[in-house]
Symmetry: C2
C-alpha cells in the first residue's frame, strides 16, 4: 500500500486509539456475524454448521472500510459537537451500517425487538438478508439513511442535496471506487460549484479506494497517485490521502485527516460567513485507501481473498458443508476478540461505546436523515392572485408555465428567510418560461461571475446545471432531509432519470410502511417543452413516455397530472406542492395555450380529476352519441376544435366532451387510490358509446389504464406514435392523427349510422388535411385557418 | 480571452492561412444562411423581408466553433492522409456540419437535389429546420455523422466506440462545455483506460469552451485555467490549450495544436505497435476557447450577444418585421465577403476548397460513418455444438446465460483476427455467468495490472466498467461504425440507459428511411440477473420495465424476446446477432432453469415466436377449457408446475399451455411486422376461453399488447407488481401471485363451473401457500416440495 502524503500530527491518545479500534472491531464482528450466523452470536459455543445461515447472502468487502469511517465520524461528532449525516455510497455495505446503528443504540430505539444485548444481536444477525427480514443494502429500513445503495451513482448528489440550506450540517459521503465510475457520480464532483458556504452546510467526500468492484479492479484505484490527485484538485477539492493496512497506523492517519478536513471546513465557513469572501472555497476531501475485505480471511482454498475482488460478497462459501471453512470463519470472527467487545449479556463494552455521540447526534438518530421530522408546510399563497381571468372559454391565450412562474416566484419570496424551497432544472428555467422566479432568487453559482451574466447569485435557490441526474439527485437529497422543491425538465429528457426515480419511488413506498419515518415533501416534476411543441428540435426531443414509466410503479406513491391550461396547472401545482410522500408528474406546455377554465372552475375540475365539459359538448341532458375525451393541453385544444366542427357540420349529433387531468382516475379504484369506480367511469364515458380519446402521449397507455372497463371495447385512442420531425405545431398533430379533422373523421367512422349520412363532412375533413400538407410544404407554416383558430364561435 | 499555454510553432503559410480562413468564413456564411434565408442565398439582391424564413429556428452559437474545427480537420486529414471521423457533441450545430458537408461536396453526392451551386445553396438554406426538410441537429440525415446531437452527453463514448478495433482511424470528438456537465460525458473521459494503442484507433477530444449553455455560463469554462488543466490531466490527457477571438491568431494556434496532437498520437501508436510498450499512454487533447456566436452580431438592441448565451439560438429575432435587424443581418452575412467565397454560380472558390480532403477521406464521405458499408456477417457457429441435450422436458437444469457463454466464447475466438465483436457490461460478465468468453478474450484494461488480477488484457474485447452509460455509448459507436456486439446487463439497471436507447432507436428508425445508409448490426441486450432472482439484492434490483419502455418505440426497430430456457436463448441470440438495424432485447435468467426444448424444438419454437406446448397440456384434440400462457423463464416454470397440478387434481380439465418467446407476436399484425393476425392469435389463445397469462414483467403490458383481440376480455395476467424484497425465489412469485398454486386457483376461479366442483382443490392450493409463508419465516428457505420440484412426473 502506498503511504504517500499521509496527514501529519497524531491527535489520538493511546486511550482513544484503543477505544476507536474496539468500536471498529465490534462493528466488523457484527457485520460478519450478520452474513453468517443464525445463532450463537457471541461464539459462546464452538461454531457448528447448525449456527450458520442456510443461505449466505451479503457483502463483506466494503464493510470494514465503512465501519472505519463510521467509527471515526463518531469520534469527531462527539469531539466537536457536530450535527452530521453520512451518505453511504457503497450501499451494499448494509451489514456495516446496521452494525454501527445497533452499537450506538439507535437501532434498538427504532426497532425495540432488536435489543442491544445477546438476544437482540441474534435477531440482528438472523434478520439480515433473510425473508421477512431486512435488505442487504442501506435501505429505508436502516436508521440514519437517506440513500438506497442498491443502484450506484447518486451518493454525492444526495449529499449535496442534504447540505443545501442546512448551514449547520456536516454531510459526510463515502464514495466507493466502483460507484465513482458511474456517470452521475462523475458529474457530481462539480456540485461544489453550487454549494454556498454561507447558507449551505459542508459536504465531506470520502473516496474509499478498496481497489475492486464485483470482479474487476477500479479505474480510480489504479491511477498513479499524482494523476488521481490532479483529478480531485481539478474537481475543486484539496485531497487528504490516507492509505494503509495496519489498523493502528490507519486509525492515526484517518483521525488526523478528519481533524484537518474539519478544521479547514470550519475555517472556510467562518471566513465566508463573517467576512463574506466571494471566492469559491476549495473544500477538503479524504481519499481512504484500505484493502477490500480488510481483516477478513486473507486466503481461502489457497487463493488470496483479502485485498481482492474475491472479498466482495461472502469470502467463505459453503460453510455449513466445509469444515475447513467453518474453522476459518470461527478463527476470523474470534480474531476480533468479541469477549473484549461485548459483556456476557452481549452488551457493547464501555470501550466500544466511548466514541459514540449522544442522543440525536448519533448518525442513526439524526433527524436530518428522517426529513419528515423537520419539514414544515410550504407557504403557498392564494392562487387567485396568479390566476388568469377567464370569462369565456377559449377567448384568451396564456403560456401555462409562465403563469406558474408567478406562483413559484411568490413561494420563492416567502421562503427567502426559511430557505426550504428550491427549483432545479437542467439549464431550462428560462426556456421553460419560469423566469419570474429570478425576481425572487437568483441561480446558485459559486464560480466566477462576469459583468455580462444575469441572475447568478452566490446565495441563489434556483439550481441549474446541464445534468438531469444532478437535478434529480440534489432534489432527492433536499427533500429527504425535510425541504421542498420542484424539478422542471424537458419532457423527453426526463427519461435520463428513469432509473433514479425508480429508486426514489421504491424508497417512498418502503418508507410509508415504516411508522418511524415521518412523511416528506413529494418529488414534483414539471415536464414541459413537450412532445407536441418541438418545432425546431424535432424527433430527438419527442418522448412522452415518462408517464408510462412511472405508472408501472407503486400506485400509493405515483400521481400523474395533465392540466389542460394555465389555471388548471396552478391548481395541480398547488396540490402537488402541499402533498407528502408522492412522486407527482405534471405535464404542461410552455407555449401559448387557450384558457378554458376560470380559477374556481379549475379548482373543482382538478379536485375531480376528470369531468364533463358541458359547455363544449352538444348533449342536451340525454345520453351522448359519442364521447370526445382528452388529456393534455394540445389534445384538449384539438378535441375542442373537433367538437366545434361537429357542432357546425353535424349539429344534431350529441357530443360529450370529457377532460382528464389526473391520469390515475382512469384506473380501477381497486388498483389506485384515485381510481374511479365503474359507476363513476361509466357516468363520464358511458358503458357503450364510442369514445374517441385524444391523449398527450403514447395512445396504448389509455388502454392499459382502462382495459377493465365495460366501455373499453368502444375506446379509440389517438396519441403520439413516434411520427415526428422538425415541423410546425399543427403538422405534428396531423402526422400523429391527433388533429381536429382526423378526430371528426374518427367520430364519423365510429358512431353507428354516420358513415353514410356524414360522408360529405368526412370528405371535407380529409380535404383540409390534404390541403394542409401542400400548404406546409410550400410555406413552412400552418394553414392560416388553423393558426388563427379560436374556440369561441 | 486568456492566452495561456498556446502551442508554439507556426506551421501555417500565409497561403494556408488565407485558404483556411476562406473555408471557415464560407462555412459560417452557410450556417447563418440556413437559419435565416429562404431565397437570395448569395445576397445578389439587397436583403428584403421576403428573403427571410417565416420561422427562425436553429442554433448559431456553437456553429462558428464547429466550423473552425471542421476546417482544421480538413487541413490535417489532407496533409497527413488520415482516415478520420468526427463526433460533433454540440449536435445542435446542425447548420455547421451541413454547411461543411455541402462545401466539400459530400452533401450533393448524398442528396443530388441539393447541388453545389446557387440553386443547391438555396435549397440547403430552405430545407433547414423546415417542415419536410432536415432537422436542426446533426441527425442521421447528415452525411458523416454517427451521433445525434439532440440529447447531450454521449459524444465521447461514441467516439471511443468508433475507435475500438479501428487501428487506422482518427476519431476527433468535439465536446461542448454544456455537454461536459452531464454525467455520461463526465464518466466518458476515463474511456482512455480502455483504449488499446495497438488495436484501436486514436480519440482526439476537443473540448470547446464557448462559455455558455442555453442560459447560463458553463462550469468548465469558469474554472481557473490551472484547475481545468489539472482536471484534464487527472483524466489522463495532456491538454493543449488554444484560446482567442482573433481569427488569424486562433487559426495559427489551432493548426499548431492539431499538429502537436497528431504528432504525439502517431508517436504513441508507433511506440506501442512497434515496441509494445505496456504503459498506458497519456493521449493529447485540445481545449479550444472561443466566443459563443463568434463573428455573429456583437450587440443587438444595445445588449451584448456575441460571446454570451444570447447567441445560443437565433441572435437576431424578428428580422422580417424589424428593419434594423434586417440591416444587421445583411451586414453580418456580408462580413464574410461571400463574393470572395463563391463564384457567380454559387460554387465554392478554389481557396475555400483548398483544404478539403479527397474522396472518401472527406468527413462527410467516410465509410466509417456509414458502418453498414463496412460490416461483415458475424461468424456464428452451428448452435448444436453448444446446445444442451433435452430428451425429456424438465428433466435437467442449466443456467441459460452460462450456456450462451459457450456460444459467445466461440464467436469471440472466431473473431480474434477480425476483431469486430465486443461484449460490454457493467462489471457483470462473470456475475451474469458469461465468463467462458474469458477463454477467448480477456477484459480490456490499460491501467496498471497486478499479479492477483485475472483476465485483464491490454488487447481484450470484453469491456467492463461500472457505467451502463459507457457500455451503451461504446457499443453504439462500435455498431454504427460497422461492427457487432452484445450488452449484458442486470435487468433493473438497464433503465439507466432508457434515454440513450430512445435516441438509438430513433436513429435507426430514421436511418432505415435513408437509402444511402447501409444497415448496421443490431444493438443486442441480454438482460439477466432479473427481477425474480434478486435473492440477496432485493427490491432495489427489481424492475422488469425496460421491455415496456422499448415497446413504446418504433415497431420497425424494436424486438423483445423472453426465451424460457437455455436452448431457446441460444436460438434467440443467434437470430439477434445475425440481424440488422434492430434493437433486440433478450431477457433470460442466469440461475439454473429447467430445460424444456431440444435445440431443434427450440429453433422451431423461436421461429414461430409463440406456440402451444402440447406435451405440457391436457388437450385431446378438442378445444381447451382454459389456456395457461407464459412468457419468461420463471413464469414458464410456474405455468408448467400449475399444469402438472391441474393434471393431477383435475384430470378431466382440458388445459392448453402456450409459451410466448417473441413478445411482439401479441401485437396486431398491422402494428408490428411480427404481430399475429387475429386468426393466428385465436388459434393459440382461443377467442372465448379463459386465458391465465403468467408474464415475466408488469402484467398490464400484456393487456397493452393484446387489447384489440377478441379474447382480451377473458385474459387474466399475473406478473410482477412491485411486491419485492430480499427473499427466496419461490417467495417472490408467491408475493406477486405468480406462483403455481395461485395459477391453479386462478384457473378454478375463471373456468365456468369449476368454482364449486374444485373448491377442495382450491383450498388445498391456498393451504400450501399459507404453509409456505410460515415455513419461510422460520427456515429462510423455500418449502422442500417447491425447491425439489421437477416437471417430469
Amino acid at each position: 500500500m502506498p503511504q504517500a502524503d499521509q496527514p501529519t500530527g497524531t491527535p489520538l491518545t493511546d486511550d482513544e486509539l484503543r477505544t476507536l479500534d474496539a468500536h471498529w472491531r465490534a462493528a466488523n464482528y457484527l457485520a460478519a456475524g450478520q452474513i453468517y450466523l443464525m445463532s450463537n452470536p457471541l461464539l459462546t459455543e464452538p461454531l457448528r454448521p447448525g449456527h450458520i445461515k442456510p443461505r449466505l447472502l451479503g457483502h463483506w468487502g466494503t464493510s470494514p472500510g465503512l465501519n472505519l469511517v463510521y467509527t471515526h465520524l463518531n469520534r469527531v461528532i462527539t469531539a466537536r459537537g457536530l450535527d452530521a449525516v453520512c451518505i453511504w455510497g457503497p450501499g451494499h455495505g448494509g451489514p456495516s451500517v446496521l452494525a454501527n446503528s445497533w452499537l450506538e443504540g439507535s437501532y434498538s430505539e427504532t426497532y425495540p425487538d432488536v435489543t442491544r444485548d445477546a438476544q437482540g444481536m441474534a435477531e440482528l444477525f438472523r434478520q439480515f438478508s433473510f425473508p421477512g427480514g431486512v435488505p442487504s443494502h442501506v435501505a429505508p429500513e436502516v436508521p440514519g439513511s437517506i440513500h438506497e445503495g442498491g443502484e450506484l451513482g447518486y451518493s454525492l448528489a444526495h449529499a449535496y442535496g442534504a447540505a443545501f440550506d442546512h448551514p449547520e450540517l456536516l454531510v459526510a459521503c463515502v464514495i466507493g471506487d466502483g460507484e465513482a465510475e458511474t456517470g452521475p457520480l462523475a458529474a457530481s464532483w462539480h456540485s461544489n460549484k453550487f454549494l454556498d458556504p454561507v447558507h449551505d452546510g459542508a459536504v465531506l467526500p470520502i473516496l474509499h479506494l478498496n481497489g475492486y468492484k464485483i470482479a474487476n479492479p477500479t479505474v480510480l484505484a489504479r491511477l498513479p497517485e499524482p494523476e488521481l490527485d490532479a483529478l480531485l484538485r481539478g474537481y475543486g477539492h484539496e485531497p487528504i490521502h490516507v492509505a494503509g493496512d495496519d489498523p493502528h497506523q490507519v486509525h492515526r492517519a484517518l483521525a488526523a485527516a478528519f481533524d484537518e478536513a474539519l478544521d479547514r471546513i470550519a475555517l472556510l465557513q467562518r471566513t465566508a460567513r463573517e467576512e463574506g469572501v466571494p471566492e469559491r472555497p476549495h473544500w477538503p476531501m479524504i481519499v481512504l485507501r484500505t484493502p477490500k475485505g480488510w481483516t477478513g480471511p486473507a486466503e481461502v482454498d489457497g487463493v488470496q481473498v483479502e485485498g481482492t475482488w474475491r472479498a466482495h460478497q461472502v469470502p467463505l462459501a459453503g460453510v455449513r458443508e466445509n469444515p475447513e471453512h467453518l474453522r476459518q470463519l470461527e478463527a476470523w470472527l474470534k480474531s476480533y476478540r468479541p469477549e473484549e467487545l461485548f459483556d456476557a449479556d452481549g452488551r457493547p463494552s464501555a470501550d466500544v461505546l466511548a466514541c459514540v455521540p449522544p442522543g440525536r447526534r448519533r448518525l442513526g438518530a439524526t433527524p436530518y436523515a428522517n426529513g419528515g421530522l423537520l419539514v414544515r408546510d410550504l407557504p403557498i399563497p392564494d392562487l387567485d392572485g396568479f390566476a388568469v381571468p377567464v370569462d369565456k372559454p377559449g377567448a384568451t391565450l396564456h403560456e401555462p408555465t409562465r403563469v406558474l412562474g408567478g406562483l413559484l416566484e411568490q413561494i420563492m419570496k416567502d421562503t427567502a428567510a426559511r430557505r426550504d424551497f428550491r427549483l432545479v432544472g437542467p439549464d431550462e428555467t428560462a426556456s421553460n418560461r419560469l423566469e419570474a422566479v429570478f425576481d425572487a432568487s437568483g441561480k446558485a453559482w459559486q464560480a466566477r461571475i462576469l459583468p455580462v451574466d444575469e441572475h447568478l447569485d452566490r446565495h441563489g435557490r434556483v439550481m441549474e446545471i446541464l445534468s438531469e441526474h444532478l437535478c434529480q439527485g440534489w432534489l432527492e437529497g433536499y427533500l429527504l432531509t425535510g425541504r421542498h422543491g420542484l424539478f422542471s425538465c424537458y419532457e423527453a429528457f426526463v427519461h435520463i432519470v428513469d432509473s433514479m426515480v425508480n429508486q426514489h419511488i421504491k424508497w417512498l413506498k418502503t418508507s410509508r410502511r415504516l411508522t418511524w419515518r415521518a412523511p416528506v415533501a413529494s418529488l414534483n416534476y414539471l415536464l414541459t417543452s413537450h412532445v407536441w411543441r418541438q418545432d425546431h428540435n424535432g424527433f430527438s426531443h419527442q418522448d412522452p413516455g415518462f408517464v408510462d414509466h412511472v405508472l408501472n410503479k407503486s400506485p400509493e406513491v405515483v400521481r400523474v397530472y395533465l392540466p389542460p391550461d394555465a389555471n388548471t396547472l396552478l391548481s395541480v401545482a398547488d396540490h402537488a406542492l402541499r402533498s407528502r410522500d408522492y412522486v407527482n408528474v405534471i405535464v404542461a406546455g410552455k407555449q401559448p395555450c387557450f384558457d378554458w377554465l376560470s380559477m374556481d372552475q379549475a379548482r373543482v375540475h382538478c379536485a375531480r380529476g376528470a369531468g364533463i365539459w358541458e359547455w363544449a359538448g352538444t348533449e342536451n341532458g340525454g345520453e351522448p352519441d359519442v364521447v370526445l375525451a382528452c388529456a393534455g393541453d394540445v389534445p384538449t385544444q384539438e378535441v375542442l376544435a373537433a367538437a366545434q366542427l361537429l357542432r357546425r357540420h353535424l349539429p344534431q349529433l350529441a357530443v360529450r366532451v370529457v377532460n382528464v387531468v389526473d391520469m390515475t382516475r382512469l384506473l380501477p379504484h381497486e388498483e389506485h387510490p384515485h381510481g374511479m369506480t365503474d359507476f363513476e367511469y361509466d357516468g363520464l364515458f358511458t358503458a357503450d358509446k364510442p369514445v374517441i380519446f385524444a391523449y398527450h402521449g403514447y395512445p396504448w397507455l389509455i388502454h392499459r389504464l382502462a382495459y377493465r372497463r365495460d366501455g373499453h371495447r368502444n375506446l379509440h385512442v389517438r396519441g403520439y406514435k413516434e411520427a415526428g420531425t422538425t415541423t410546425t405545431p399543427f403538422d405534428m398533430v396531423v402526422r400523429n392523427d391527433l388533429d381536429r379533422y382526423r378526430l371528426v373523421m374518427d367520430v364519423i367512422d365510429r358512431v353507428p349510422g354516420l358513415a353514410v349520412r356524414a360522408a360529405g363532412v368526412r370528405q371535407q375533413m380529409a380535404d383540409v388535411r390534404t390541403r394542409h400538407e401542400a400548404w406546409i410544404r410550400e410555406h413552412g407554416t400552418d394553414l392560416p385557418e388553423v393558426a388563427d383558430w379560436t374556440w369561441a364561435s
